[in-house]
Symmetry: C2
Subunit: 369 residues, 2 copies
């Protein structure tokens, strides 16, 4: 049987591997995980727009998790928005999960703000600012627990989606990618179309100075790179991916924040290539201010990027149209869960259905207070 890529999905990179993996997930039952975490990096003014104010960025992950699980937010007023008032991409994630009825679990990678829902705990704590050069404690435990969880999920599901909601995470991603030498320049994304590239770079270099390392010094020690410069969603997601991908396909749901995890994973176990892919959005890959494709070329030519072809340009809501102008683009595994919804439903779920559901959810979200 020839597998045809459905029109709701697009592929960048190695299409052969993408098609092989998608055909193995077609109509099969997957599980979606979203790891929430806090890094104090996001509270440095100007770094993150994943929250209305620097302080509120700490609420973004926990509030996203509450919204996915309960359909409402209790740890803060309203829902996470960026300073322009554009709401969290979790509406798309929720649409995908509702339509596909895919099982979903929230993992607390390490948060300062604890959501009011049951989470899977892995022993992580809130991360320190990236410029300290030593951001995480307990990396080994979170990593090991991730591996256990990845194995546990592979026991019961045909594939696994990992994802994240962690404000400030593109800056920590930049730092880890530079420490590993995966990239030498700032190619990471931002939830704002005005990506504060210089500020992120300066903070990362400050962290490198504090840690006494240079670009590429930690190429052979990904866990050390994560411990020095990462955020708490990284070690557990790395563990889940390595634990699961030996046995079942794994989708890295997200944008450039997931790149350091993919880079670390293939460094630690190259045999998983062929069983991992990125699941993201058209918006992320179209972003002129970041370069996911180039980052991925540096990690491996054989990790395909599969994206959901969502288009919000005709949406009646300005907060959704904004995705077309470069806001938000990714987060809360909205791309990965949407790709998974299409695959799990064997194409029965498409972009039009997702858009309708997003509109239903968006209408409700507008009235949160």
């Amino acid at each position: 049987m020839t597998f045809e890529i459905p029109p709701s999905l697009g592929v960048r990179g190695n299409e052969k591997i993408a098609v092989d993996m998608m055909s193995r997930m077609w109509g099969k039952k997957g599980v979606f995980t979203c790891t929430i975490a806090n890094t104090l990096t996001s509270t440095i003014p100007g770094v993150s727009e994943a929250g209305d104010t620097p302080e509120l960025t700490l609420y973004t992950g926990p509030a996203d998790a509450e919204y996915l699980v309960m359909g409402k937010v209790t740890c803060m007023k309203g829902i996470p928005i960026n300073p322009g008032g554009i709401p969290t991409p979790a509406t798309l994630t929720k649409a995908a999960l509702e339509l596909s009825k895919m099982p979903y679990f929230i993992i607390n990678g390490g948060s300062k703000i604890i959501p009011n829902i049951p989470c899977i705990e892995v022993g992580g704590e809130c991360g320190q600012p990236v410029n300290t050069g030593h951001t995480l404690s307990n990396v080994q435990q979170a990593f090991e627990y991730g591996k256990i969880l990845g194995n546990q999920l592979a026991d019961a599901y045909d594939y696994v989606v990992v994802s994240e909601s962690c404000a400030g995470g593109t800056t920590t991603a930049l730092a880890v990618l530079l420490a590993m030498g995966t990239i030498k320049e700032n190619l990471v994304s931002s939830s704002s179309p005005k990506n504060p590239k210089q500020l992120k770079w300066d903070l990362v270099m400050e962290g490198f100075k504090a840690a006494g390392i240079q670009i590429g010094d930690l190429a052979d020690d990904p866990l050390k790179a994560i411990e020095c410069f990462g955020d708490p969603m990284m070690p557990v997601n790395l563990g889940i991916a390595l634990g699961a991908a030996k046995r079942v396909p794994v989708i890295f749901g997200g944008g450039t924040q997931m790149a350091p995890i993919m880079a670390a994973a293939v460094k630690m176990d190259p045999s998983i290539i062929g069983n991992i892919m990125q699941g993201t959005t058209r918006w992320l890959l179209a972003d002129p201010n970041s370069n996911m494709v180039k980052i991925m070329e540096n990690i491996s030519a054989d990790i395909p990027m599969v994206y959901i072809n969502m288009d919000y340009s005709k949406s009646p809501y300005e907060g959704l149209q904004a995705y077309e102008w470069g806001f938000i683009k990714e987060g809360v595994g909205c791309g990965g869960s949407s790709v998974a919804a299409v695959l799990t439903s064997a194409g029965a779920i498409d972009c039009d259905m997702l858009l309708d559901r997003v509109h239903d959810l968006y209408k409700k979200v507008m009235h949160f207070d």
Copy 2:
């Protein structure tokens, strides 16, 4: 289509409801949860045999959870045994989960000993001894988190199994059942054939005195009964059951320890009757030293007991033969997971297959150190 009860299963109580529920779970995908917890009640000498010594009873739940998830135990040496050397029933649970490939999650209801695996946390803490008359803190949170989790699981699965591993739990069960007036005498089970009935009764009465209540006083306030006399697996399992059973069938996996939760659940929401059943073992229902059937008659005539027809009498292992002599009988959801394995596989899994797998697992367990 007429549903025929497969020979691996047996029914006590309302067969019509049992058949209706089983036909709705036949070949469908369920999810298994096991809530581990500690109550200091188990450390009172003579109360619990779910552990080699009173102190070691605290390790039983966490070690069972590690065994289910990792196939090995790291929080203690060996695996949980009773003072006669008879190993935990978790080998049967693991056999059922492995054969059925059913998704399974460990919930930490509240433990003093924390297992070295990722668990779903609900804000619970280790319970105080039953004779204090105030055993639990944070009951409302654990209950609410349970409801959220129950709803979350009902989003994605066709049915839900709740279960427990909590040494000392038959004594707390006795206390809660008496406080609610469900029973007036000691009908609960024990992992030992020499059920220490008088000791349990005396401890419960001491607790009642400390709390200033008499049998039946808390008939209309199940959460208060659990707060005063329960153990930490109760509020979260109650919440899961109430959250899930409005939408999907729920199996209470376990013996008399699950009775207070069923009593509380139907008190708080009688509409779930018809969508809940007990999943247990032949051994538990055959126990001459407890009376599950009578307890259930007092809760509701319409909660059927479905049991797995396992027979260890021809097993080459004395530690398994002992089940036929009244040891262990239930725990770690071994009955519920086995019933679920038969249902989910539409009868493809039967007692013979379970027995073979238990023997494989048992051989490995004997060499743990």
